[in-house]
Amino acid sequence: VNDLPPTDAGSPFVRSLVQAAKNEAPPGGAKARALAGLSAGGAGAFATAAAVASTSARGARRVAPSLIALGGALAMAAAAAVFVTVRGHAPAGALAMATAEPAGAKLRMIYAAGGSPPPDRRAAPAAACEGVSVEDREPTVCSQPGRHEPIEVLNTCGEEIDLYWVDFQCRETFTARLAPGETLRHSTFDTHPWRARDHRTHRLLKEWVGPALPEPSTEPVVLPDLVITDRVLTADVAPTACSRPSSKASLRFVNQRSRGVSVVFWVDDDCHEQVQKRLEPGESWTSNTREAHAWRVRDESGALLADYAAEGADDTVYVAVP
C-alpha cells in the first residue's frame, strides 16, 4: 500500500480537499456532551446518560413546562390517529434484544423495507402541528413489564419532533428526534408509554401506550411451498423486502431442480442475505420461520432462482404523530 501513489500527488486542489476533510471537527462541545454521559456513573448508565446529554444539547430552545401547561387547552391531539396493526405475536428472540431498551439501546433509525408504513400511511409531512398540543402534566403512567412489540412512529408534522420513552420511574427518556416525514422503528413493550414533543418548543403533541396484543398463536402458520426450478429470475437487484416481526410460520422449500446445488438465503431485517441451507437436487427443507420473513434462493453460480417476500403479515404497531 505504501507503494501506491498518494492521493494528493501533484494537485493543490486535491491536497486542499484532503486537508479540509482531515481538519473538519465536530461542533463545539459535542465531545464534552458525550463525555458528560459518563459522569452519570457506570458504563451501564452511559447509554441513558449519553442520550440525555444529547437531548439537553438541543434543549436550549425548550420552553418551561409550566408555560407549556398553559397551552394545554389546545388539546387537539387527543383525537389524533394511532394506527395499529396487530397480527400474532413478536418473535421470542426479539425479547432479549428489547430488554436493553431502558438504556435507549434499541434505537434503530432504519427502515426495514417491509416494516415501513404501508403506502396509504406514507403521507407527505404536510400536517401542520402548530395548533396541536395536549395537556402537559408529569407522566403518571409509568412503564411496566409487558409484552414485546415493535413500533414504527411516523412524524407527519412539518416540524422536527422528539420522542421520549416514559421509563419505569415515570421519567421521560429521550429516544430519538424525527425530521418531518421521518420514521423510527423501535422495539418496545405494549405497556410502555411514549410521548412526542415538538422539538423547537418542547410542546407535548401526543402520548400513547402500546395496545394490548392478543395472545400469540401456538400453531405456526403454514405458508405455501416455495418451489425451486431451473428458471432464473431476470431481475437480480438487492433485496428490497426485508424480514419483519411476525407470527410463527413454517415454509417448505421444494427443490425441483435436477442438477446443481441450490442455496437458500434468509434476507435479514437489514435486507442482507444470510446463507441458511444448501439443497441438493430433489431435496426439500422446511424452515421454522416467521410469516413476514424474506428468502432468496440462488444456484451454484449465484443466479437468482427465487425471491420470496410475504405480504401483509406484520406485528408492527404504527403510530402517526400527531
Binding site: 500527488a9 486542489f13 480537499l17 434505537l107 433509525m109
Partner: protein, 190 residues
C-alpha cells in the same frame, strides 16, 4: 513477553467507564468525521455518533482491548448505512447539508477564496460521486488514517482487497476532484 503485553492486560482490566471515556476522547472526532464523509448530514452527525457510542458502551465486554477503533468505525459504517437507507426513503440527498450555500458556487478563478466550508462541500460532492465500496476504503485509510489491517477488520474484507480498492479509490477521488475543479473554472458545476 513484550512491553506491550502487560499494558494491554492493564487496559483490559480498566473499569468499563474509563474504557468508554478513553474511546470517546480518542476517537470521537474521527467517528463523527467518518459519519459525515459517509453521508450523514451535519445536523444528524452528533446523534449518529452518540448512537455509535451507545452500541460501543453496550457491547464493551465483547470488544477486545486495542480493537476499540476498529469496532467504533465498523459500527459507524453500519449506522451510516442505515441512515442513508432511511434518508433515501425520504428522497433526501446524500450531501444536503454540505454547506455550499444553496446553489451558490465559486465564481471562475476564485478557487483561492474557497473557505473551509466550501472545501468541505466539495469533499462531500467528490466523495458522494464515488462508489460506496471505494469511498469507505478511501475515507478510512486516507482521511482517518486507519492502518490497512484496521480497514480490513472494519470492512470485513482481506487486506489485499483493501489495497486494490484503495488504489482505485485514490484514482477516482483525484479524477472526480479535478473534474469538479474544471467545472469551477468553466463557471458551472457538473
Amino acid at each position: 513477553m513484550t512491553l506491550a503485553s502487560p499494558l494491554i492486560a492493564l487496559r483490559s482490566l480498566a473499569p468499563p467507564v474509563d474504557r468508554v471515556r478513553a474511546a470517546v476522547d480518542a476517537h470521537y472526532d474521527g467517528v463523527w468525521r467518518f459519519l459525515r464523509r459517509m453521508g450523514v448530514a451535519d445536523r444528524d452527525a452528533e446523534d449518529a455518533t452518540q448512537q455509535v457510542l451507545l452500541v460501543f458502551s453496550q457491547r464493551l465486554s465483547t470488544v477486545k482491548a486495542g480493537a476499540e477503533r476498529s469496532f467504533l468505525f465498523g459500527t459507524a459504517l453500519r449506522v451510516a448505512a442505515d441512515y442513508r437507507k432511511a434518508r433515501s426513503r425520504q428522497r433526501a440527498v446524500l450531501v444536503e447539508d454540505a454547506g455550499a450555500s444553496d446553489g451558490e458556487h465559486p465564481a471562475p478563478g476564485a478557487l483561492h477564496a474557497l473557505v473551509e466550508r466550501e472545501l468541505l462541500a466539495c469533499v462531500d460532492q467528490v466523495l458522494g460521486a464515488m462508489p460506496a465500496e471505494l469511498r469507505e476504503v478511501f475515507v478510512l485509510a486516507d482521511l482517518e488514517e486507519l492502518t490497512m489491517a484496521e480497514v480490513a477488520r472494519v470492512l470485513s474484507i482481506p487486506p489485499g482487497t483493501v489495497a486494490s480498492r484503495l488504489r482505485r479509490a485514490r484514482a477516482v477521488f483525484q479524477e472526480n476532484a479535478l473534474a469538479l475543479r474544471a467545472s469551477f473554472e468553466r463557471g458551472s458545476l457538473p
